[in-house]
Symmetry: C2
Subunit: 415 residues, 2 copies
């Protein structure tokens, strides 16, 4: 936690740092006098540099002890970098095709050196706004989520392993508190940080703050976020944390990682796909009514859950006699009982996921951080119409999530 030895790097000092660090220089083919550095951090928190030599490339991410887009007045522990590096390594180990490799981590400098996710990879959110279909997205995300969630849960770990990991990630509490504030608190009260498409959504935002049943449900979701140590979750798995091409899907930025409810990851991803869906009407132009694309998004949502279900329960089957201590094989050895147990677990997870999906949608419409899906709709009437439909859907979903048995039912509600 000490600041000793820490300094914020710029291009010049980063150049010296790389030269002096064999694990980084080697990835550039040791061409230490012949590489280019470009600062590309478009996030709110960190500095990100792309470093390219004729023989290789790396990305350098440095956390600074405050929120970058606001300044030193909003301190934010740079120790988040430690948790990001730890989660990246863990997730890369569990889902190597969908998580960049970490080459180097320097805790003092809060600096991660990792694989450069090269063009034509773009941020998924931008692809969704542009109307690009990614045929393998659902498959890849289902695989990432099934692997990272299953193998870090008590379905695969012993209690001893689980509690040790829980304890370690309790240290990432500042980032958890930030999520609590921006997802579960601010949208439901008057806050200087909240904003929305005003004046069009003024009454909608007020309605959220006065919706007692909604707030009752959000309280339950928040409790689960704070108290349910189910798996090592990414913690910020929206469509801005995913980079894609037609063939490749890469999950980045797990600095919010901690032991929490699995549904928070699944919900973040699905909820942001729903946001993309509701934003499509704002991106209609003469040549493209986006109808086909809307159908593709819905199919992707359905496929994501259904494939996740299949992959996750299949891992469970494979490891049913494994080290996991949640359901001991000697007790749950009956085929029918195992099916019952799985159905119950997966239904609870489904309802959690829907609740968190909805909470993540609401906060993007009336909370502090908005999404480019809507922000890029310049016509405010159009934008607010899209946002309102998304908001109404999300409110309904929060309240009625336990009534849904399949993702198809949820999609029918959205349509």
């Amino acid at each position: 936690m000490t600041m000793e030895g820490f300094r914020v790097l710029d291009e010049k000092s980063l150049r010296e740092y790389i030269k002096a660090t064999p694990s980084l220089a080697s990835k550039l083919g040791n061409e230490v006098d012949n590489f280019k550095i470009k600062e590309v951090g478009d996030g709110n928190l960190n500095f990100v540099y792309i470093v390219i030599s004729p023989s290789g490339s790396i990305v350098i991410k440095q956390a600074i002890p405050y929120v970058r887009c606001i300044g030193e007045s909003w301190p934010m522990t740079k120790e988040r970098s430690y948790f990001e590096a730890t989660a990246l390594k863990r997730q890369h180990g569990l889902s190597p095709k969908h998580v960049p490799e970490v080459y180097h981590f320097d805790r003092t400098m809060s600096l991660i050196g990792m694989r450069y996710i090269e063009p034509p990879h773009i941020i998924l959110r931008k692809g969704l706004i542009a109307g690009v279909e990614y045929p393998l997205l659902a498959e890849h995300m289902a695989e990432f989520m099934a692997n990272t969630l299953f193998y870090t849960s008590l379905l695969y770990l012993t209690t001893t392993q689980l509690k040790s990991a829980v304890a370690e990630f309790c240290g990432n509490v500042e980032l958890c508190r930030l999520t609590e504030q921006v997802v579960f608190s601010d949208p439901y009260k008057i806050s200087e940080f909240n904003r929305w498409t005003s004046p069009y959504l003024d009454t909608d935002a007020e309605a959220v703050r006065n919706d007692q049943i909604l707030k009752l449900e959000v309280a339950e979701l928040k409790s689960k976020f704070c108290e349910k140590t189910q798996a090592l979750i990414h913690g910020d798995l929206h469509t801005g944390s995913v980079m894609v091409t037609h063939e490749s899907t890469q999950v980045i930025d797990p600095e919010f990682a901690f032991y929490g409810p699995m549904g928070f990851d699944i919900g973040a991803f699905i909820g942001n796909l729903f946001l993309a869906y509701f934003a499509q009407d704002g991106h209609v132009d003469q040549g493209n009514d986006r109808k086909t694309y809307k159908a593709w998004i819905m199919d992707t949502i359905a496929d994501t859950w259904n494939l996740f279900y299949k992959k996750f329960t299949s891992l469970w089957d494979i490891h049913k006699e494994g080290p996991g201590e949640a359901y001991l094989h000697e007790i749950y050895n009956d085929l029918e009982l195992r099916e019952l147990v799985k159905q119950k677990y997966m239904m609870d997870l489904f309802h959690d996921s829907l609740g968190f999906a909805a909470a993540k949608m609401i906060r993007r419409i009336v909370g502090v951080a908005h999404v480019e899906d809507f922000e890029s709709i310049s016509d405010l009437v159009k934008r607010s119409d899209c946002e309102r439909r998304a908001l109404e859907f999300a409110k309904n979903l929060t309240k009625k999530r336990r009534n849904f048995n399949t993702i198809a039912d949820v999609i029918a509600l959205a349509k």
Copy 2:
């Protein structure tokens, strides 16, 4: 965790230890050549000494690195002593009238020096077997549970405080695993450790192992035990962990303490009262049909829950604008909404408590560790009849717990 410096004390070496330890000697009025030591450990795990001088008294409890009643073949970390001392201090701070004061803790020696709970205090379980009424028991236990659970939860703590405490108590994992095994696993499978009143309960024990719905529900309870970090719980709050007189109630032995579901404590206590209830018919003699006493036990169960409810929600009201981050006052500021939130929270807690109560009952009838309430019934036919009724009640309670709205309904089922 090191053994360095650790040695198991006997009366002679304990005498030297006390002489050399001012915080202990002072409690004996520094009469270091004039005190008596008596070993009284009747538990399964530790050594316990009562030390009395003409001017004072203390209890010394030393944990050894194995299960005392089995021997070195069953290792058990002596670090449990650290968690016991930490929990005792915390709980004494929160409920000083019902938890003995810790005078001294030596982590290397796994040794706690604390208040001697003097006669006529006896273990509550023995009082219940003898048919003694304790008019303040429900009030006191409700107060202990309300204070220790409320103030260690997110209803009073910040997320930062909660996660720090969760992380610390993750270290007590060996004791958590023991509970997982003896409460949630062994009774539901063939295990060398299980026993029951054979042959009378042979088919009953088998029925437990083959009851699919029961095992489905027990899995959910186990998940909550392993994953729900709701409050610092005692972890072993049965009627053998409570010492009583007519005026006083003292809760001891929190070596199983960790961050878990509140309902596990409430359930442990209530479940063991139900065991005492079902055992009464085995203690009937010519002079006493125990009818009045059975009614008193039922009243005590009802009072415990109802007083707990009142005290716990009252603490919540008092601190509604306090530091707790679960329900921010700015969001939950509406009176009607606050009532809704409380009702939902308490109903969930009630159902958790009933589930854990039932699980704790079942394991005492067909698991490894039995209770004196039943064991002291020498007529095996009578004993097994009592046990069978308790077992049937507990199985029903596990499966139907969500249908109960009041403790009176539960008591009606038991009767």
